[in-house]
């Protein structure tokens, strides 16, 4: 296992980055309430997901077609969210 970890330092670095991001977002609860805290927590979640998708799920290595399929789910979700919010907010 030690050899495996030594040979895959790039994955270990990504894990360290992910844990750093996690503790950065968790540490915000120690600060007084502020408007920037919620967007910051969500931005950290987006950054963590991007790292997991690009490196752990190997999206970076795959061809354009796989990336299109991966992006499709997010696009449909965005359409669902925008249409739902448009209906809800204009009632």
């Amino acid at each position: 296992m030690k050899r495996l970890l030594r040979e895959n330092r790039d994955l270990a670095l990504v894990l360290a980055g992910l844990l750093l991001l996690l503790f950065a977002s968790a540490a915000t609860v120690l600060l007084p309430p502020a408007a920037w805290k919620s967007p910051f927590s969500l931005a950290v979640a987006v950054a963590k997901t991007a790292l997991v998708a690009a490196i752990f799920m190997r999206l970076r290595e795959h061809g354009g077609l796989t990336r299109v399929f991966a992006a499709a789910g997010v696009c449909w979700l965005a359409i669902l969210a925008v249409l739902s919010a448009a209906d809800y907010l204009t009632r």
């Binding site: 296992m1 495996l4 970890l5 895959n8 994955l11 270990a12 990504v14 894990l15 992910l18 844990l19 996690l22 503790f23 977002s25 968790a26 915000t28 609860v29 309430p33 805290k37 919620s38 927590s41 969500l42 950290v44 979640a45 963590k48 997901t49 997991v52 998708a53 490196i55 752990f56 799920m57 190997r58 795959h62 061809g63 077609l65 796989t66 399929f69 991966a70 499709a72 789910g73 997010v74 449909w76 979700l77 669902l80 969210a81 739902s84 919010a85 809800y88």
Partner: protein, 209 residues
Amino acid sequence: MSGIPMDRAAYEAEERAATNRLGMWTFLATEVMFFGGMFVAYVLYRSSYPDAFAVGSRTMELGCGTANTAVLLVSSFFMALGDRAARKGDRGALRGCLVLVALLGMAFLAIKGYEYASKVDEGLIPGRGFRYPGPPQLPLFMTLYFAMTGLHALHMILGVCAVAWLLWRSSPRRHQSVPVEPVAIVGLYWHFVDCIWIFLYPLFYLIGR
């Protein structure tokens, strides 16, 4: 024997693997939509009842949520490590990684079970038994909490079963070849379930504190 049939076999194997991966990504896109409806419901209700949802967030156990996020991130790391070991044909390293992934998955479920039990004790279960003092929309927050984390936990249970199957499939006594493609496919599923939790964590544990 000429080299051409071998090249064709390798080509067909690579084509099959690419098709499998694309099929898994398509399935994951449907899963995004599956969870997406609940995420949208959460955002709309949160914007309608921000105070009740802030009270709800403060009833969550931050230590459990943070520990569970760390557990899942580490499990994803070992799954990625196992994927690389499988591609190199290193059966021992692959099986070691899979054991760690399964144990971390079970640790996540144990922490989640502890959290659910504490919610029962505090009277935070939506329905007649709800007795926690707070705004009238607090049960709505708890309903979304149990629905979304419960669905995620169900995916985790399926993930642990899939990893257990990979352990059986990679046993040297049963199969001569290392299961490269099944590890990649189950790995995609595992990482996706991790990504869902990455968003559940700030929505339920951080926002509003």
